[in-house]
Point group: C2
Chain length 345, copies 2
Amino acid sequence: MKPHVTERQSVKNTPTLREVGEHGVIQEIIAAAPSSLNGDDAAVLLPMAPNSRTVATTDMLVEGRHFRLDWSTPYQVGMKAITQNYADIEAMGARPIGALMALGAPLDTPVSVVREIAEGIAKRTGDYNTELVGGDVTQAEKITVSVTAIGALGGDREPLALSAARAGQKVVAHGKIGWSAAGWALLERFGTNLPDSSLQPLVDFHCSPVIDPGRGVIARATGATAMTDNSDGLVHDLTTIAKRSAVKINIFTNAVAPDELLVRAGELLDHDPWDWVLAGGEDHTLLGTTMKDAPSGFRVIGEVTRRNGDGVLTIDGQPARYSTGWESFPSDSALNSVCSLEEDR
Amino acid sequence: MKPHVTERQSVKNTPTLREVGEHGVIQEIIAAAPSSLNGDDAAVLLPMAPNSRTVATTDMLVEGRHFRLDWSTPYQVGMKAITQNYADIEAMGARPIGALMALGAPLDTPVSVVREIAEGIAKRTGDYNTELVGGDVTQAEKITVSVTAIGALGGDREPLALSAARAGQKVVAHGKIGWSAAGWALLERFGTNLPDSSLQPLVDFHCSPVIDPGRGVIARATGATAMTDNSDGLVHDLTTIAKRSAVKINIFTNAVAPDELLVRAGELLDHDPWDWVLAGGEDHTLLGTTMKDAPSGFRVIGEVTRRNGDGVLTIDGQPARYSTGWESFPSDSALNSVCSLEEDR
């Protein structure tokens, strides 16, 4: 079941941004995602605990490149924009405390599209007990959703850095791995007319990946030292940790093997589901390292095996096959080594 | 003298974003605007003083709508993106502590354009002793610079709110008023071939407005209560304060009268320079109210005359003529009342 299934075609009779003007657009956003912190030149966020530090990250989603409105509802786009930004905050071990959205859109965009994006943002910021605290709207050729997330890092413990994996640690994961890429492959082949409705969760997860709020904070509180989110692909993102930490990381095949849905989607598409697991990305799964037991909500998927390493990532001891994930500007050289899954995105 | 006068035409032989790829683009940005806080999933900002609150704002600049690269250098675009975001932080009485940039650009954009935008950002963030602490890059149809500014509001004194003007206060201003609009009008008529080089400062100010760092913090520390920045036009922005504070504000003609450069530009263009002063906007001048003397760097331009007012703004006691400023999505009704200066933007 897709929430807010309104699509562009069906909302042609609602007013456009041209008709309601900037003030009207802003009112729609504020009505859908209200915050008493919004409405002045800048948002003053709620006071944080003593010693807490501010954490910030930003991601821009562009229509046609990061989402298609014939595949995703505007509501899902809004949710995804928050999920992926908040995942970056959580990957530092910090707690999201608010988000801002700069929105660009063509004048003929139905205002309902903007409202539904804001509703998706309100839903997902609300899941973290936060709000959309500020933003900007402007005319653009494509719908462009640029979200910035602000977080609070409590206490004086170190943030979960890419460079802080240590030999002897477990590699732990919270969230699906490979689902977003499989969902994209299904949409690319079938559009929204899926021949096997049992695969709908993969499509939904691509349109709006979900991770449980608070897992990064829990992981930092219980001994994790390094963390990232699976945005560019499992091999790519864990290789980044391995390189930045100068360690060797080994992934256990059994722990990340394609699940039943991925296998079924692979059969339907005649595609190796390991591609999605290893190179897919965009799941925003939290990937961390810890000397302790896996934090609640996390499972063990590998081990950090060597310090003073060369950043090598292996799978059951064999060199990982996929080194290139998502590229915002695919260069000629990058395209040659990128897997088929990514080439057309 | 325009800094970094490299323009698109002259850099066709430098590599494009397609050629250098995402990693190359990010490296260019980090080289031009380095920060040791950058490079992880999110930036952890430096610890703030006890009791300080985090302040955040965002603005999106789109090529062809907010800037033209045949008018502005990429360096100026980068500077302007920081100035206008930091002005919003200052307008709360807060101190900017860092910025993030999400950048969208076409694949055929010369990488030097991105580097120069980042250099402009580094210059202007450096003016405030801050850094570009994070960002995102992606493919887009138009160059899109979405900057988020983070600030710190020290102590427990209230931020400078739009709703905090009080009867009996002085209205004070720091910065030029009308220069940006006059510069735009000159560019619109003459392009960059200005017939009178003495008017170049107006053009430069449009391409990259400048306010002195720290004025908002000083104003808050010395008794100001309300503040905004002149982004949508003097009448529009002061009317916002008047309405939100339920007061009446009166502006002194003598204090905002067009200066010599504005008068000369008006003669050259056969245009009333008062238009630029009253409805121009984009100067990012700080406009505040205070019961005390004007803070250093500020001058008195008016008075708050009535509490429980209806948000009326007058000029020497006469109702202000211009009520509509910059519109991101000019609606039909707004277009009818907008001044000629704004219609084509």
